[in-house]
Symmetry: C2
Subunit: 349 residues, 2 copies
């Protein structure tokens, strides 16, 4: 009898927050088998599934850089997987690959649709392909070095600073000689930023005196704002912007769940302070991946960059609640679901 | 007896719209005399006073690129003047100069604080130093060519399109081969844009079916948005932006009079559509003035660029109501006040 392949499908488009048990539905179908493979294809089992803020946006039926997930389709998601069988010369059995498998336990992938671990220099653990060396790390590298471009002594503010992208972005700004201020959602996260990651200051946006504390932490105003959240904090940073500030628009996590996003009032500051505000999607900049990964890998090795992961247990079924909790700030560093522990014996299909 | 010098002073900071008779107060003091001049100084009489949307922002006591006008001080403003007496070798008696004289009839200016008409190639009338060859023309040139940078066939949208800056910006985009859509506040202005200036389409934002008409006018979405207005129209253009769109933030005329500006909700589009949104102030880019003026002058001469002015009569006292009416869209092209007709005999001081 074939082994079962659990997968999670979109059942209903949420208008606001994802509703566990309603938005998604689980299905079990027979797992694919090595005999299904055509030339150039590989069969993988998912080890770690990445949970990313932008996944919520892909549930909306709107013009965007990725087509929306269709009702009934397997939920979008990237993962690091292990190769169980291969008819591609690019990988061997047992190798790790990064791919957009979706929320499933097993998948067949074709060449061009997966990245072998050989493209991740200095890889020590498979989960690094999702965190510091993964998309979020490379996103932080690109946004901070290619758009924000902080000069020594400049003030850099990072929101979502304890998250997967923000924590790396802030550390890169420190490596460039900037004074770095993080914004995060708990005192514990703020302590982690200053005591472990070396941020110059960190401010808890949930604290009653947040605006005052933020002002005190940015006495020379803001040269670079690396924005992961949008909303009120973006407005506050616009008011606090210095002349010729660069605003790196990486994400708007505060708004993804909202059908009626918060309006940004201080847009006039773009003119007054001659601000450049630039959004980006890392997949437009693949030519930078090798350099970004090489630099990040070197910094990790030298101990100049620290990473963190929040790994949820419970298998693929934990993904739905995990995605809900992502918007509530459950994670420090990269949030992922352990679908299968890499130390366990590979599945026999 | 010395001739009187009328000047208009800030009496009270408005919180919303300028209130005629309350915001400003008129004073008459003795006009300066040639005998007051020190080496390098010139004595001028103002011919045309420029009325610009940003003047309202300078009435607020806020951190900005120009210090706010102080209570009791002469109101800020640029003008084209005639030299009545000179102790500078840079100009002769009877020459025209551009300077920030403020709202006054006569002024003493020192070298470095005025621009001789020799810096305006192809000048035909003194008022051109305020319109097509002036700051608004150069602003349009810089914003459109250096930030918007439209490619042939791209869709360019200009708001405030019948204004001093917008009308030139749109025509420059046409000269670069773009498809140009103007947004203006009356059917007459829209007709002027399409029939006289060669815009491909123009939409009246005061019409009930504006949003639908705008959608129809931008079937391929927006590559470049030259924003003079901010507010709801900016939000609408963000929603309508194409991938890698450039948003040139030149001004936010819809918001200057508001103590509680309209929030922009579609900021998430910056990420989704990878938009670059950049504000600028032309005075940071003086090194571009000679090239901008040379190109504009050539286009004017060849009939490829058309300019327009709305010139208010009634002398300096007309400036206050003129500034109020500027935000109501009284003007087509550059709005200015004729303080003294250049064909009249120069004053004898």
């Amino acid at each position: 009898m074939a082994r079962g392949n659990l997968s999670i499908h979109l059942a209903e488009r949420p208008t606001g927050e994802i509703i566990p048990g309603t938005t998604f539905t689980a299905k079990t179908s027979p797992a694919p088998s090595p005999s299904d493979l055509k030339d150039g294809q590989i069969l993988v089992e998912v080890l770690y599934l990445s949970l990313d803020p932008t996944l919520r946006a892909q549930l909306n039926d709107r013009r965007s850089y990725v087509p929306p997930v269709q009702i009934g389709a397997v939920m979008n998601g990237a993962s690091v997987s292990r190769v169980l069988a291969t008819r591609s010369k690019q990988v061997s059995e047992g190798d790790y690959v990064y791919a957009a498998t979706g929320w499933t336990e097993y998948a067949i992938l074709e060449e061009g649709k997966f990245e072998p671990s050989s493209q991740y220099p200095g890889l020590r653990q498979p989960q690094d392909m999702l965190s510091a060396l993964g998309i979020t790390g490379v996103t932080a590298w690109y946004g901070m070095t290619q758009i924000g471009d902080p000069k020594p002594g400049e003030t850099v503010v990072v929101s979502g600073a304890a998250g997967a992208t923000g924590s790396v972005a802030g550390q890169i700004a420190k490596l460039k000689g900037a004074r770095v201020v993080g914004i995060a959602g708990s005192d514990d996260k703020c302590r982690w930023l200053t005591e472990e990651l070396g941020f110059d200051a960190a401010v808890n946006y949930k604290a009653a005196d947040f605006k005052q504390k933020f002002k005190e932490a940015t006495p020379n105003y803001i040269d670079v704002y690396f924005d992961n959240v949008g909303g009120d904090i973006l407005d506050m940073c616009l008011i606090r912007a210095k002349e010729f500030a660069r605003f790196v628009e990486c994400g708007v996590i505060s708004q993804y769940n909202s059908a009626d996003p918060k309006g940004i009032k201080a847009i006039g500051q773009l003119v007054t302070m001659r601000i450049k505000m630039q959004g980006f999607i890392i997949f437009d900049h693949r030519e930078h991946f090798p350099r970004a990964r090489a630099e990040i890998s070197k910094w990790l090795e030298e101990g100049k960059l620290k990473k963190n992961e929040t790994i949820l247990q419970g298998g693929l079924r934990a993904a739905e609640q995990g995605l809900v909790d992502l918007y509530r700030g459950i994670n420090t560093g990269k949030l992922m679901v352990e679908v299968k522990n890499p130390n366990e014996t590979p599945s026999k299909l």
